[in-house]
């Protein structure tokens, strides 16, 4: 008897819940998977996660996404992939099959995006990558029709850095001697493999070159050797912890170069936060048009919503990827991913990073490659078709 009453009560409760839900439109389930722990968690915490939070907050504040005339709120389900490709793939699968996600956002970093490409392809979700820089764009988009690339080719990123040095040399500002180091890990090796021949082809003399393992705790032997080689310019194809470490050692060794380049994380606000005025003149991978009203507005909203500034490279692209998805869904008025994907291929989008129009390889061909800290902002100095590049300045000391 008791049991039956309980059963009745629960069915009534369930019925009211279902009825109640029918009045308001079902939320759109947004699946997100990226590192919250593991080696890339620090980068994802700067570039990836805050943009998702910002976007969802903004969309929900204006009443949700308009899908075919119906306003639907966003509901995010987040998974930590522990910087482990196998976990990324598992999480995407779980989002699609168990959480019934309507959209699944692209994961973080080159490696995790490439690892997850087959599963996005198989499930039919567009994968708009904003933190994957690779030279395999042609092969990947040929194989995975719904994979998009915002951040560009690693070759351009490395070659443009060398080009900046060449230009400075042609102008008679720096000499011919370059010291080059790289972190012995995926992206560092890839950049080095392009950067070294480019430096040699440009006629630079490599006075010192080495690689160091990821997670090296003491980079002072590296910087001592760099200093002893008396270079005119210093180039490091580095990752976040060593970008900070190399800069600090350069300050300690009083490395006197006119051009100082470190790769990933130079564009992080934390870089200027740590080194202050000493960051002035440091060049690095990425950059944005800091004077564009769209970016300035985005940066202000980012800071207001998440309490942190966006970085000056992939943050804006991450947000742009969400803008693209939003526009595609609202304009097509559907959550049918095949239709959304086709729309993304066929149209150009106005984003915080400017107009984005994917080419036949699903690749955004206009992006920033080299930036430089100037007056407390990391300004784009080299691009492949963006407006607003400023002229580079010479590095003068570490004070």
């Amino acid at each position: 008897m008791k049991r039956r009453t309980f059963f009745k009560a629960t069915t009534t409760l369930a019925a009211t819940l279902v009825a109640g839900a029918a009045f308001a439109a079902d939320p759109i389930i947004v699946g997100a998977v990226a590192p919250k722990t593991g080696p890339l968690a620090g980068g994802a915490a700067v570039t990836h996660w805050p943009n998702i939070a910002l976007w969802v907050e903004e969309v929900n504040a204006r009443g949700g996404l308009n899908v075919g005339g119906e306003q639907r709120m966003l509901e995010v389900i987040e998974y930590d992939d522990q910087t482990n490709p196998a976990e990324t793939i598992k999480a995407v699968q779980r989002l699609a099959t168990q959480d019934n996600a309507d959209i699944i956002l692209a994961p973080y970093s080159t490696g995790l995006n490439i690892a997850a490409a087959p599963i996005y392809d198989r499930l039919g979700f567009p994968q708009i990558t904003s933190s994957a820089a690779t030279d395999q764009i042609g092969e990947l988009s040929g194989q995975f029709d719904d994979m998009f690339f915002l951040l560009g080719r690693s070759t351009d990123l490395a070659e443009d850095a060398v080009e900046v040095l060449s230009d400075l040399r042609e102008a008679g500002e720096i000499g011919n001697r370059v010291a080059m180091v790289n972190v012995a890990d995926a992206f560092g090796i890839e950049l080095m493999a392009v950067g070294k021949p480019a430096l040699e082809a440009a006629g630079f003399e490599l006075v010192y070159e080495t690689s160091y393992p990821l997670g090296t705790q003491d980079l002072s032997p590296v910087m001592k050797a760099v200093k002893a080689a008396e270079p005119d310019a210093f180039v490091a194809w580095s990752y976040p912890p060593d970008t900070f470490g190399l800069t600090e050692q350069a300050m300690i060794e009083e490395l006197d170069v006119k051009a100082f380049y470190t790769a990933v994380a130079t564009a992080f606000p934390a870089y200027a936060g740590r080194f202050g005025a000493a960051a002035e003149g440091v060049m690095g991978i990425g950059g944005v048009n800091t004077a564009s009203p769209e970016f300035m507005d985005y940066a202000a909203r980012h800071e207001a919503a998440t309490g942190a500034k966006p970085d000056y490279w992939a943050s804006g692209m991450m947000y742009a990827s969400l803008q693209i998805l939003e526009e595609a869904i609202e304009t097509t008025g559907t959550l049918d991913m095949a239709e959304v994907t086709q729309f993304i291929k066929d149209n150009a989008f106005e984003t915080v990073m400017g107009t984005i129009d994917f080419d036949e390889q699903n690749s955004n061909t206009a992006y920033w490659t080299v930036g430089q800290w100037q007056g407390g902002e990391f300004k784009g100095i080299k691009e492949t078709g963006r407006e607003g590049a400023v002229a580079p300045v010479l590095k003068s000391g570490w004070e």
């Binding site: 722990t37 003491d218 740590r274």
Partner: protein, 288 residues
């Protein structure tokens, strides 16, 4: 000369990383895999106080040490002591402790991400050159070395001169016999574990002045500490210090003379050599 000094300074850093684990493993017999996380917590405290209130990390350690002591005492009392009581022999305790602290490390990473976010925490403190014998060194690293030296000396003296220190050494050598001469083994084990945690957290606070960390970097330090403790011999402060210095100088020598790409190779090669030819560590006793 500069290789030697750079190496010794790095060795000091390693000593800071490993000393705490040595106490925890050597005396309390807890192979604490959450050791690195405790270090990151110390670093977090230093970072937060420095960025919010401009408090020098060297002052923060006086706050971090007692707090970490209490926290680790509670961890031992409520999480690990039941395992100690239940364990029938040392092997069983070791397996249980490894599993438990492995779990604990995830809990701590999760809590830190929840509380502080996963962002890098890096700040600049004493990032100035200091000239020793004509070569430049980072002042923050030199200060860390001095901290390590003071800590090592204090710990060594305390263990060898004071009565409590002697009791702790007795527990390290033989918990069963220590009990026979009237030493309260459970109480001392808890204290040694707490002290080890405090030393690790202080090390973290000092190290954060020159290393860039985030919430999930702890495991890297646990690995390093493990190698050093095993190389030095379990339960002997001298061994840990010597192993830390040998590793520091060895890595720096390889990085400077051969190639920076081979530092990890050098570290693990040293580790394997020690395991092969002196498995009990520098100062460890041969098992009878």
């Amino acid at each position: 000369m500069d290789i030697l000094i750079t190496g010794l300074i790095l060795g000091g850093t390693y000593a800071l990383i490993a000393l705490g684990l040595n106490l925890q493993y050597g005396v309390s017999r807890i192979m604490n895999l959450a050791n690195g996380e405790m270090l990151v917590i110390g670093a977090f405290a230093a970072f937060t106080l420095f960025t919010v209130g401009q408090v020098s990390p060297l002052l923060t350690i006086f706050l971090v040490a007692p707090l970490a002591y209490v926290l680790n005492w509670l961890i031992y009392r409520f999480m690990l002591q039941p395992l100690v009581k239940r364990a029938k022999n040392r092997g069983m305790l070791e397996v249980d402790a490894i599993l438990t602290t492995f779990g604990l490390s995830f809990v701590m990473v999760g809590l830190m991400i929840w509380a502080f976010g996963g962002d890098y925490f890096s700040y600049s403190y004493l990032a100035r050159p200091i000239t020793i014998f004509g070569d430049n060194y980072g002042l923050n690293r030199v200060v860390a070395f001095i901290c390590a030296a003071i800590l090592c000396a204090a710990l060594f003296l305390w263990l060898n001169v004071s009565r409590a220190g002697m009791a702790i050494r007795a527990v390290a050598v033989s918990p069963e016999n220590a009990r026979l001469v009237g030493i309260d083994v459970p109480k001392l084990s808890a204290r040694a574990f707490a002290l080890g945690g405090a030393v690790t957290a202080v090390g973290g606070a000092v190290i954060s002045t020159f290393l860039t960390l985030d919430a999930s970097t702890g495991v890297m330090f646990t690995m390093k500490a493990l190698i050093i403790v095993i190389m030095g011999g379990v339960g002997d402060v001298r061994g840990t210090i010597l192993a830390a210095l040998v590793l520091g100088v060895g890595e720096t020598f390889v990085a400077s003379v051969i190639d920076p790409g081979l530092t990890l190779v050098a570290a693990y090669a040293l580790f394997i050599l020690i395991l092969l030819f002196r498995p009990q560590g520098f100062f460890g006793r041969k098992p009878t």
